[in-house]
């Protein structure tokens, strides 16, 4: 690892103040991704601000039925929380489909959202990668792209966002709460947290420098069945080829509402609300949603399989959910 200086802070206000006075600083939460990338010299912070003891480690309940999950709550504790299990099972399912037991005990909600891609070229220091080394090119587009994006990418980058949790949060319309270095607090819809690569794939979120995620809030629970399906190359502890978070409310065989977010397909959790509207006939909903959500997709030869796989998976999920 490259040398860095280190400090512990005890409040979110101290954390952003520390960021303001130390150029090149990064926040360190669970560290399961950042420390790994520092060992590989992909992340090179000059200073680490340890936010593990700033609080933000509780799940609060609102009077309207929604919940606020502190940014430092560990993934295991979100997945095992009584309210999450009862009212947001798609989130619990997404969390336990990701990583390993050890990693989920350490990884935080805020860090999960901000984890970096697992594109193999991002990790290979001697090959071009616009995300790791802006302007160097993208080795993935003509390379091994099995697990990379079929939509939302650009000529500069086709990396996917690796999180399962974020896919469920996207289907649940979560809000990401933050504090900026000037003390301003923001509420960012999860749909606007991650940004598409365009010509600047090293910029992955809409956060301003030093902006710290403090919580994720979920609106009151909605009616309907919730499902998370993850398809991958191993049965456990692997990133998604395709994953789907589904929230579907049925009236007999007909659909009242449906929400579908996809993982493993794009540089961010992929959901197209317009594709969900007007889907009444549950037997046709999957095809209509896939057609609309992936219109304009540009898969590579390696990852072309993801489109029919997602179609088949969504058909199965909706059929299963309709029988609940």
């Amino acid at each position: 690892m490259k040398r860095f200086t280190y400090e512990r802070v005890s409040t979110p206000a101290e954390a952003v103040a520390a960021f303001s006075r130390t150029p090149g600083a990064r926040y360190l939460a669970g560290g399961t991704n950042l420390v790994d990338l520092m060992k590989l010299h992909i992340e090179l912070p000059a200073h680490l601000i340890d936010v593990n003891r700033i609080g933000l480690d509780a799940i609060e309940e609102f009077d309207d039925g929604g919940i606020r999950i502190g940014a430092m709550v560990r993934n295991t504790d979100v997945a095992g929380h009584e309210r999450v299990l009862r009212d947001y099972p798609v989130l619990a399912r997404a969390l336990v489909s990701g990583a390993s037991g050890q990693l989920r005990n350490k990884a935080t909600v805020g860090g999960n959202l901000l984890q970096r891609t697992r594109c193999p070229y991002f990790y290979s220091g001697d090959l071009p990668c616009n995300k790791r080394n802006p302007g160097s090119g993208c080795a993935a587009i003509d390379g091994l792209s099995r697990n990379l994006a079929v939509i939302g990418g650009s000529a500069s980058c086709i990396a996917t966002h690796p999180s399962d949790m974020a896919v469920a949060l996207r289907a649940l319309d979560a809000i990401v709460e933050t504090i900026q270095t000037n003390g301003t607090r923001r509420r960012i819809p999860i749909s606007q947290l991650h940004v598409l690569p365009g010509q600047t794939p090293h910029i992955e979120t809409s956060l301003t420098p030093g902006e710290l995620i403090t919580a994720v809030t979920l609106p009151p629970p909605v009616d309907g069945a919730q499902r998370y399906l993850k398809l991958r190359d191993r049965a456990s502890y692997a990133f998604a080829n395709v994953s789907i978070a589904l929230v579907a409310d049925f009236d007999g065989p007909a659909l009242r509402t449906i929400r579908v977010a996809f993982g493993g397909m794009a540089p961010k959790p992929w959901r197209v609300e317009a594709a969900e509207a007007g889907n009444i006939d549950s037997s046709k909903a999957a095809d209509r949603i896939i057609d609309a959500a992936f219109e304009g997709a540009s898969p590579t030869r390696d990852n072309l399989f993801k489109l029919p796989l997602a179609r088949k998976a969504l058909n199965v999920l909706i059929t299963e959910a309709s029988r609940q």
């Binding site: 420390v35 050890q102 005990n105 993850k230």
Partner: protein, 178 residues
């Protein structure tokens, strides 16, 4: 010499309890908990396998919760209560999970075993706390099955593939737990 002096300026003090004994050390912030346990405290039961959180050989318990010590900087563990394989049991007084691994021959070369055992102990506690897994059919009622053990232990690799006996050892402890 300059380099050495400069490096020492960056040392950070950290104090934690390992296996019931308090340690206060001054350490380079780059040192992982794994390396601190092995090199500073000479507790070499915790093993370095992949050093990137994939194999689980470095698993230790922090306040009873299993983590990969290779992905955790030692300086972040100020005030923590850490248990390594040396703290779980001794030759004269084995932890039930250690005894079960011996009984069921849950190893061949043994390199992954300390991590497997620490992980299994933490894993059973997660079941007791009703944390579901990917294979739990009912999120509210976890069944004590081999499928649950296999899924929950997927962060611990065994290159000798002693998996059937590892599962048998963990199953025995799981079934005899009060």
């Amino acid at each position: 010499m300059d380099t050495l002096c400069e490096a020492q300026e960056d040392l950070v003090a950290v104090s934690f309890v390992v296996n019931g004994e308090r340690h206060t050390i001054e350490i380079d912030p780059r040192v992982t908990l794994l390396d601190a346990l092995r090199n500073n405290l000479h507790l070499t039961g915790t093993k370095k396998g992949c050093d990137q959180g994939q194999c689980g050989a470095c698993t230790v318990l922090i306040m009873g919760r299993r983590i990969n010590s290779c992905l955790s900087l030692a300086v972040t563990h100020e005030g923590d209560d850490i248990t390594t394989i040396e703290g779980l049991g001794t030759l004269g007084s084995l932890h039930p999970m250690q005894a079960a691994f011996v009984k069921h021959d849950g190893l061949q070369c043994g390199y992954c075993t300390p991590g497997q055992i620490c992980s299994a102990v933490g894993m059973l506690d997660e079941i007791d706390r009703n944390v579901p897994s990917h294979v739990s059919e009912d999120l509210h009622a976890i069944e004590k099955t081999d499928a649950e053990i296999r899924e929950r232990m997927s962060g611990n690799l065994c290159r000798c593939a002693a998996y059937p006996n590892i599962v048998a050892a963990i199953r025995e402890v799981m079934e005899t737990k009060p």
